[in-house]
Amino acid sequence: MTDSELHPYVELIAREARRPVVSDPAARARVMAAVRAEPIPTRLPVWLRAFQPRAISLSPAVGGLLAAGLVGIGVAVGSFALDRGGHLAGQATVAERPPVSPKVSDTVFVIVAPQAAKVSLVGDFNDWDASKLPLVRVPNSGLWKVAVPLPAGRHLYQFVVDGNWVADPGAPVAGDNGFGRPNSVRIVRTGSAL
């Protein structure tokens, strides 16, 4: 196909395209003047750049560990904010109002266990934790004793003698606790106990 066979419109376009371009000698000067007239962008300070939006991408491992850390912080804060009963610290329910006048007095617990190597006291006053209240052996006797400051009221307890839970032979029992061994009962008043 030759030029003479082209459509007149195509010929017109081709002719225009072949025409040499003559640029204005002052154009470059005008463009540079316009650029110089634009304000120079200032670099933001570091603290302001921290608030500028930007996309962050992390690998799954790093992202997972950061999330685990955040969950850990949440659990730690939550566990400190909640007391043991699951209520917000300092928030008492209707049934958990503090006693009007808590009378705390030292209550002595004694058991005779001459062969024992270790005796401790567990009860509702120490969450039944055998590590909290060890009894002390009275020298030259088979007697073990401990004095515990207890508020007035009814307390359930047992002794743990060398790992075995036993009721106090000198106190009333509250009956089968459902776990095979009866709990003993101590009613604490100011200065006397049943």
């Binding site: 730690a76 909640l82 503090p98 006693p99 459902g178 776990f179």
Partner: protein
């Protein structure tokens, strides 16, 4: 654009360590705060529901919590802990429905009487009380004597009679001391109670309504 591949290499290991330490450090702290977390989720939920119910009734959940804790410390399996707490829960509700708004200590003691084998109707004698008078000792002696083998009917009759006659705390304590001493010496439990109840002095029912020093009635100690 900040990507893991562009993070300085020296920054990655400390970040990993901090994340792991935070997670591992927080979980034991939570477990230490609440020992009931050692229960399996299903058992924990069942016990939580019972405790919630008590709180909604305006009662303390301390006894249920203490029972569950004792089971955990003794290494009892979760099913047995839930069964025991359920029985305690039922007895506390029954005692509350009979006695009404008494102190937590008395409610616990009344529930223990039911656990020992007394009938709910036998608690009815303790529904009315004089101001300043506590039935803690009566309930404690009652539950103990049933557990020592004294027939439930005889114990209930004797304790209710003493209570209605106005017996004080010292009377109940003396009765317990004497009967348990007789039983430990080999006497028949029922006979021991009958013998001692005849000696126990009652008190006039119209006792002055004064609150003695150290009274614990209606106290919410826990």
């Amino acid at each position: 654009m900040l990507s893991a591949s562009k993070l300085p290499r020296w920054l990655v290991p400390p970040a990993l360590r901090v994340g792991a330490l935070l997670l591992l450090g927080a979980l034991p702290a939570a477990a230490q705060q609440d020992p009931l977390i050692k229960l399996d989720p299903r058992s924990r939920m069942a016990i939580d529901q019972m405790m919630d119910t008590l709180r909604q009734l305006g009662l303390s959940d301390a006894r249920l919590r203490s029972t569950a804790l004792q089971g955990i410390r003794m290494g009892v399996d979760n099913g047995k802990i839930v069964a025991t707490v359920s029985r305690k829960f039922a007895n506390l509700k029954t005692a509350f429905s009979i006695l009404g708004a008494v102190g937590d200590n008395e409610l616990d003691a009344a529930a223990a009487v039911l656990e020992a084998g007394a009938k709910p109707s036998q608690l009815g004698a303790f529904k009315t009380r004089q101001k300043g008078r506590t039935d803690l000792d009566a309930f404690t002696v009652w539950a103990d004597l049933i557990n020592r083998g004294v027939p439930s009917e005889e114990t209930s009759t004797a304790i209710s009679k003493l209570w209605q006659e106005g017996a004080d705390e010292a009377t109940f304590r003396r009765l317990w001391n004497d009967v348990q001493a007789d039983i430990s010496q080999g006497q028949n439990p029922g006979a021991a109670l009958q013998a001692r109840i005849r000696e126990a002095p009652g008190r006039p029912a119209q006792k002055p309504p004064t609150t003695p020093e150290g009274e614990v009635e209606n106290q919410r100690s826990r």
